[in-house]
């Protein structure tokens, strides 16, 4: 931001980094939240249809226009980064609106034209504003804006080409633009890494479009009876979720700082030179090492690649150990079939809810317990901690029966929440409820152990300093320990996510209906006593592990750090 105040440090002060939560991001958050709600509604109910008489179509189209104007507002109030975010988001909205309104006939086309025209106008306007401010924003006719504009132009042209409806059949043009755009954006990000974040937003937008295109193709190829709008909304919701994550990550507001002459900050980045330097730094030993590591990495990826390849085959191809699918395009239908057959619409949301609740509960209990074991001296601390560790040795099969008896109310440890606030009742039965699926896993000896190990490394001097400032344990934990322990907490989060996401036996035992069954139980539908529908199982497995992969990539650095610093490596 050009007008940011420059702080000049003296002997008593230092430069602090100000993290601002821009207005534009809040608006984006609202957008995203609305779409996520739409996602939840659509995937939970599966009741939308694209029938032109369906009331949801015009409502959603109108909503898209409304949000388009809100997006324009965000452009006018945001910083450069959020301006880009808004632009990318608006493109998604435009396509979304187009998809929804395509069954509205001529009026739908008018809606599309209106949305595209308004968005294009605001896009140019916002770029002009940024340029007028003298910020480091994208020039009006910079590559990013050109790409976005190109997409919009294609969208508008698509309306005219199709004559009667917003032409999904012509969306191959979008795919072409997406392909070219992603390549350009990637190259730009290499040349201008300082702007990679903005370009990633564009990539996200383009990726969403590609996703919509593929989804449409799947609908056509797989001969789905009626285009399932709930799934399209789900895709849009997924994109919105990604945007929300981007939006809530605090970022430094651009500001002018003094740097020495000749500082690397003033030099332009030379990617080709950097790559050349990297190659020159490789010795024979390093080359051999890299070759071995590359081979090992490939080997470790073989099962994953096999899963993807198999998910695009017929059952017969898999049974005959084919390496590649003969018809991968038709193989995409396996995903549709797997999604429908295993009731993933419901199970996916169930897994999200179950995992989220479990992680939240587990973090609360584990952080408090770990802090107590690490930082508070009390009688029997080590003994209790040892007893806690012993529980790690008890196999799951041994605890299953007691756990089952507890959640069915046969062991009087479940407090009543409704019948008697102060009593303990014997007939409480949590079978087939969310409680039975989450509560037993909201405390974990392993998580406590891992966090305790990390907390123990925090110097006691910090606690003493906190005491001098009048702080207590809770303040010390929240304001000092938790920020420091972020890697360990993320590690616990990831591990809990994986175990919760992959849980099978317990959810199967404590559920009687589909209401709260998670994804893994859905996967089981592809196996029976005489064989397995491997092609569907692999497609379903890919759908199931995708969130785990995304979470892992998002927390990879912190995860590695957390494992390394809590004594668990090796």
């Amino acid at each position: 931001m050009a007008n940011a105040t420059v702080i000049t440090p003296n002997k008593d002060t230092t430069i602090a980094t100000i993290r601002k939560f821009p207005v534009g991001d809040i608006v984006t958050l609202i957008f995203a939240a609305v779409l996520v709600i739409a996602l939840l509604t659509a995937t939970g109910q599966g009741q939308f249809s694209t029938d032109s008489t369906d009331i949801f179509a015009p409502i959603l189209a109108a909503a898209a226009v409304f949000f388009g104007f809100l997006g324009a507002y965000s452009l006018g109030t945001s910083t450069d980064a959020t301006g880009n975010l808004g632009r990318a988001f608006i493109v998604i909205i435009a396509l979304w609106a187009g998809f929804i309104s395509r069954n509205l006939g001529d009026s739908g086309n008018l809606v599309m034209l209106l949305v595209c025209a308004v968005l294009a106008a605001f896009l140019l306007y916002s770029a002009y504003r940024d340029q007028g401010r003298g910020t480091v924003s994208t020039p009006m006719f910079g590559p990013m804006n050109l790409i976005v504009l190109a997409v919009l132009v294609v969208a508008v042209v698509g309306v005219f080409i199709s004559e009667t409806s917003f032409a999904l059949d012509n969306l191959w043009l979008l795919a072409l633009v997406v392909g070219i755009g992603v390549v350009i954006v990637t190259l730009i990000a290499l040349v201008r890494p300082d702007r990679a974040r903005s370009y990633s937003m564009i990539s996200l937008g383009l990726g969403t479009m590609a996703f919509l295109y593929v989804a449409n193709k799947i609908i056509i190829i797989c001969d789905v009876e009626e285009p399932q709008l709930d799934r399209i909304v789900a895709l849009a919701g997924a994109a919105a979720f990604g945007l929300m994550i981007q939006a809530v990550i605090p970022r430094v507001v651009p500001q002018q700082v003094e740097v020495p002459i000749g500082s690397s900050a003033t030099r332009s980045f030379d990617p080709i030179g950097a790559i050349g330097n990297w190659f020159r730094s490789i010795t024979i030993g390093k080359a051999i090492l890299y070759a071995i590591l590359t081979f090992a990495a490939f080997i470790s990826m073989v099962p994953f690649l096999w899963m993807i390849s198999s998910s695009l085959m017929t059952l017969g191809e898999i049974l005959n150990r084919a390496v590649l699918p003969a018809d991968p395009v038709n193989g995409l239908c396996n995903y549709v079939e797997a999604w429908n057959e295993a009731n993933f619409s419901r199970y996916f949301m169930n897994s999200v809810i179950i995992t989220t609740l479990t992680i939240t509960g587990l973090l609360v209990t584990s952080i408090l317990a770990a802090y107590a074991f690490a930082k508070i001296n009390f009688v029997g601390r080590n003994l209790i901690f040892s007893l806690l560790l012993i529980t790690l040795m008890i196999p799951e099969s041994v605890t299953m029966i007691p756990n089952f008896l507890i959640i069915t109310g046969n062991v009087p440890v479940i407090p009543s929440g409704a019948d008697d606030y102060f009593g303990i009742i014997l007939d409480r039965n949590w079978l087939d409820t969310l409680t039975a699926l989450t509560l037993p896993f909201m405390a974990s000896a392993f998580a406590i152990f891992l966090l305790r190990q990390f907390f123990s490394t925090i110097p006691d001097e910090l606690w003493e300093a906190c005491r001098i400032d009048g702080g207590g344990h809770l303040r010390f934990l929240i304001q000092i320990v938790l920020p420091i322990a972020r890697p360990a907490i993320l590690t616990v989060t990831l591990l809990t996510f994986i175990s919760g996401w992959n849980a099978f036996l317990w959810p199967l035992i404590v559920t009687r209906t589909e209401t709260w069954r998670p994804l893994m139980v859905g996967l089981y539908n592809f196996t029976n006593d005489q064989g397995t529908q491997l092609h569907l199982l692999m497609a379903g497995s890919f759908i199931v592990i995708l969130p785990i992969l995304m979470l892992y990539f998002a927390t990879q650095k912190a995860f590695t750090e957390g494992i390394a610093t809590s004594g668990l490596k090796g």
């Binding site: 059952l315 049974l319 005959n320 041994v398 009687r512 029976n528």
Partner: protein
């Protein structure tokens, strides 16, 4: 092992709970019971097309039954998962159990250790609600009697809605090649163990010309280590793995020893191999590198896919080669049992079972599931299906030669033991088959005694 430990713990707890939960064995008379408006939870293991058809059958019953009974059918995992859930439910007291459940005979026997199931004789034989003599006679006798438990005083703890048969899958084209080249001395499917050995060993030296797999791995027979396979081969050699008079396992019978010695010899001569991956025999059979496999008839769709996308040869099924005059085929399949609930729900569950096993519904169910129907008259409705699927028709003709594995509690654990012994015997030609099977018999009877 983990699964075994859990199941074992469950059964132990069940046994410990026995004195507390056992009820007086009083025959319930259902004549005056009114099932109107009853709701029945039905736990099953079916998925995919089978589940779709089952749901359609349930929906039809719900829409047409005169009592307003509602059946809620739901997949609760595989057989093992349902067994675990049932055991946990019985330990817990039974409140969380369904009113109708799929159960193998040995599983039903385990439930009955704590009097968890209804003796269905009172319903089947009821003048008001039961089957007519004509209907009873329509059921295949072996099927009809398979859920009557001598170890529980002749109680009927289940009722069969379908059955499968352990059959031999064979590559017709390859056998023809072997016969035409003079590599074997007979035509068609092998009828005796010696013919089976002859073809199996010839297949190693004479790979199938149309094979799509690696012909250097051609083999006559691929064996999966499974207690049902052991029982099937024992039946084929004229014996049984259980003595119903003494109530003891007889894995050390002469027929069982002969059968396992035969298999051990096939392995030693390189004419048979074990299966390295789950359902790998289906894959290798489809690629034309395995001449024979033995498996359930309900696996037809998987074999068909493997062959059509593989070597695409002519194939069929037949009886296991046998030393007996007539084939003796291992017949198995889960029945449906009625856990104890209210008389109204118990009767409602039976009325659905009666509908489920009626001829028209059986014909639909057989076509959708690839299982065999349990009533002989259903064959009349399956003419087109037989024509479209000759292998199914061939297997159907073998139903008359059926025998069953022992319906005793603890058989799940015995099965695990049997698989281990089978693997040990065929892995090492020097292993004493008789001694190994004697040990297995002792272990199996110990497990039985613990129930």
């Amino acid at each position: 092992m983990k699964k075994f430990a859990l199941l074992f713990a469950l059964v132990l707890v069940l046994i410990m709970a026995l004195p507390a939960t056992a009820q007086d064995d009083v025959d319930m008379v259902y004549e005056d019971v009114d099932p109107t408006g009853a709701t029945v939870e039905f736990w099953h293991q079916h998925s995919g097309a089978r589940e779709e058809e089952l749901i359609a059958i349930v929906d039809e019953f719900n829409a047409t039954n005169e009592w307003g009974i509602t059946i809620n059918a739901s997949n609760q995992g595989g057989y093992g998962d349902i067994f675990q859930k049932m055991n946990l439910g019985l330990v817990e007291g039974g409140a969380s159990l369904p009113q109708l459940v799929v159960a193998y005979q040995n599983q039903a026997a385990t439930y009955q250790l704590v009097d968890g199931l209804v003796d269905m004789r009172a319903m089947v034989d009821s003048p008001t609600w039961g089957l007519s003599e004509e209907d009873k006679a329509d059921f295949f006798p072996g099927f009809y009697s398979s859920d009557i438990f001598p170890t529980f005083g002749g109680q009927r703890l289940g009722f069969p809605p379908n059955r499968s048969l352990e059959v031999m899958y064979y590559n017709i084209d390859w056998l023809n090649e072997l016969s035409e080249s003079g590599a074997i001395s007979f035509e068609g499917a092998p009828q005796t163990p010696e013919q089976f050995r002859e073809a199996s060993c010839a297949a190693v030296e004479n790979p199938f010309s149309g094979a799509t797999g690696d012909t250097s791995t051609s083999v006559g027979y691929q064996l999966s280590f499974d207690a049902s396979r052991l029982a099937s081969w024992t039946f084929a050699f004229g014996g049984d793995v259980f003595d119903y008079e003494t109530g003891q396992f007889t894995y050390d019978s002469e027929a069982a020893v002969e059968a396992m010695t035969f298999l051990q010899g096939l392995f030693a001569d390189g004419c048979a191999t074990d299966i390295a991956e789950s359902f790998g025999d289906q894959t290798n059979f489809g690629q034309g590198v395995t001449l024979f496999t033995v498996g359930s008839s309900s696996g037809f769709p998987f074999y068909r896919s493997a062959v059509e996308d593989g070597a695409n040869f002519a194939w069929s099924v037949g009886a296991l080669p046998h030393t007996t005059e007539e084939p003796v085929m291992n017949l198995y399949g889960a029945s449906v049992s009625i856990p104890r609930s209210t008389p109204e729900q118990e009767l409602a569950a039976w009325l659905f079972v009666e509908f489920y096993t009626s001829p028209d519904i059986q014909a639909r169910w057989a076509e959708a599931s690839n299982y065999f129907p349990v009533r002989a008259s259903v064959a009349d409705s399956l003419g087109d299906y037989f024509a479209a699927d000759p292998a199914y028709a061939t297997a159907f003709d073998l139903l008359q030669y059926s025998a069953a594995e022992p319906p005793v509690p603890g058989y799940d654990f015995v099965r695990d033991e049997a698989e281990g012994v089978m693997a040990a015997i065929v892995a090492d030609p020097s292993v004493d088959v008789a001694a190994s099977l004697a040990d297995l018999t002792a272990t199996a009877n110990d497990i039985l005694a613990d129930q």
